[in-house]
Symmetry: C2
Subunit: 349 residues, 2 copies
DNA sequence: TTGAAAGCGCTAACAA
DNA sequence: TTGTTAGCGCTTTCAA
């Protein structure tokens, strides 16, 4: 019943109705409403009033079919629903929405079923590829669709590319490692996504490069960014690194869920985070500030990243501004107690 | 350059091209591809192969214009970007995406600028209104659009309505209050959204009703669900409730951000949560489990809620299943230490 | 300054 | 079984 009330006429009023009501031709009505034309103010006003009176809402589909524009942008992320777990992704979306709303674009979260590629071309004017993953067939499909694409992270090797708005992880991670070094860390370990992720590659290369320069052993393990299964998947590996004759004294993990899991493992082993072993994260989250102890992290400002991607796309679509091949945004290190200072253990057997 | 490679032909191939390539008429090609028709297997195969060869992707806009279907569903939430802060909302979206992806629907996050109503009709087949708010003009516009709407929460009074998939907050909240009562709480206070929110109304009515039945004073204050400004906005009010001759001994707040702020205020006042005063939350979040002490909350299973809304909509759109006016899902209480047991203060003056 | 008509790519009548 | 034709609602030439 509720969908049947008197007010819902708007769904059916067409431009023709408005034109008839105003006593003009369809084309005139169109121009009066889009403001594109040369015409009497009286006519224009008449048309506008008729439209108002009837509650006319242009059919976006028809308009899109004619103009080739949909006034919406798409966002793609592999395993999108699960990635809502990460503050990074949801903040990035918020940033995209901020500018989409401002510019009256709708935001379409593109179905990201990686198995069954979508048969229909996406109805969007532009696409943001948050964190492109090398073997994501759907992403590749989108890259080949002819629709402008901006990636929110650099591409992994062996993947077709597009203009990128990314983050200068290198400087922030180096800063983090330097800080840990000053806090006494000499056996750092990095968990990062594998080489199918551009982010993973940058983190790994930066980490290994820094270790080499410092003459330290670079202990690097890959892990899914996915989220909550860190302990199940990498718990044993982590425990192994933390024991033995030469235990690791700094663990860097990609996201907040891995951090919490790591903290748990450490705690269960009787290690005090920030004293016995240091812990830091490559993507900050509100959670990390609330932990006991709070955990040092790199603030990627994902909301700003999302907004920057979207703004670039909108400028391109609305004004033809060319898309820069690579834009890097700064990230900043947020120091917290988890990297406070390593206290040397007494060397008792 | 990257958008100009050889593979992006798919953008321009039309059904006519496929038909010509296969040597059949457009309509035949159409039917061969959509599978709707009666025809030789040979013809069908020929058309399919031609389509494959050319890399044909149907134009969703044109199809939509003709069929009146877009194969995408819209999600609307007032102040959507800021609401990503709440685990509730982002889990709800994840649930919606789960079923959208399964059924090959795109998900459009509808621009929710409440000031400037969108001039163009939304290009979606169905709409999910997460938590309808009475004075949200855009929501009302959507309700009047003639597009099927499912709300993810009951409507506040004085708002047009639609079928609802909601949560039985009543039983869960009552359970919570009973538990707190058994833990010794006799002066409960509820912070909840105001009467513009259906949720707020249900919480308030349930709370006040229960208090009346128990013969307890029902201390009820309204607050925005928004999130991170709880302490700034309600901190003083809360502090006042916690002091005086008859201080409150249980505080129930709507979301995780309010909970953390409340915990802080209590802590700053020297109150120990779970002993001196109890604290509970109406919408659970991962955060609350990690706090010290962990905070009791009602698990609304928002992902299931989102999925249920989306499934109802998809069933309606794909199979004409009527939308039930009201579906209520159970919520469950997750007990944690913050409602452990009130320890009676010594009655010293 | 305005109107008539074509056509965006597709599907669904209706003919053949 | 297949082809022809007529639109879906809109914008955009092109004439008047």
């Amino acid at each position: 019943m509720s969908n049947d009330n008197g007010a819902d006429k708007s769904a059916k009023i067409t431009l023709g109705d408005v034109a008839r009501e105003a006593g003009v031709a369809k084309s005139t009505a169109s121009e009066a409403l889009t403001g594109s034309g040369r015409m009497t103010d009286a006519t224009r006003r008449a048309v506008r009033e008729a439209a108002q009176r009837l509650g006319y809402r242009p059919n976006a589909l028809a308009r899109g079919l004619r103009t080739g524009r949909t006034h919406s942008i798409g966002l793609h992320r592999l395993h999108a629903p699960d990635n809502f777990d990460s503050e990074y992704f949801r903040e990035l979306i918020a940033g995209v929405m901020d500018v989409a709303i401002t510019h009256d674009y709708d935001l379409s979260l593109l179905s990201s079923n990686p198995v069954r590629p979508r048969s229909v071309a996406p109805r969007v004017d532009g696409i943001i590829l948050a964190d492109p993953i090398a073997d994501d067939l759907r992403a590749i499909e989108l890259l080949n669709s002819g629709i402008p694409v901006v990636a929110g992270e650099r591409y992994p090797p062996g993947m077709p590319t597009s203009p990128v708005v990314g983050i200068a992880h290198e400087t922030a991670l180096t800063e983090l490692l330097e800080h840990a070094y000053r806090s006494g860390a000499r056996r750092p370990a990095l968990f990062a996504p594998d080489e199918k992720s551009g982010w993973g590659v940058v983190l790994r290369d930066t980490f290994l490069g820094w270790c080499r320069e410092r003459g330290l052993p670079g202990i690097h393990r890959t892990t899914a960014f996915k989220g909550r299964r860190f302990r199940e998947d990498e718990g044993d590996l982590l425990a192994a690194l933390l024991t033995g004759t030469d235990p690791v004294d700094l663990v860097v993990v990609p996201g907040e869920h891995a951090a919490l899991a790591t903290r748990e493992v450490m705690r269960d082993m009787g290690l005090q985070v920030g004293r016995d072993v240091l812990l830091a994260v490559c993507a900050d989250a509100h959670l990390l500030e609330l932990c006991e102890p709070p955990i040092t992290a790199i603030d990627l400002s994902p909301r700003r990243l999302g907004a920057t991607c979207a703004q670039a796309l909108v400028n391109h679509l609305d004004h033809g501004t060319p898309l820069a091949e690579l834009t890097l945004l700064e990230a900043h290190l947020t120091l917290r107690n988890s990297t406070e200072r390593l206290v040397q253990q007494a060397d008792t057997p």
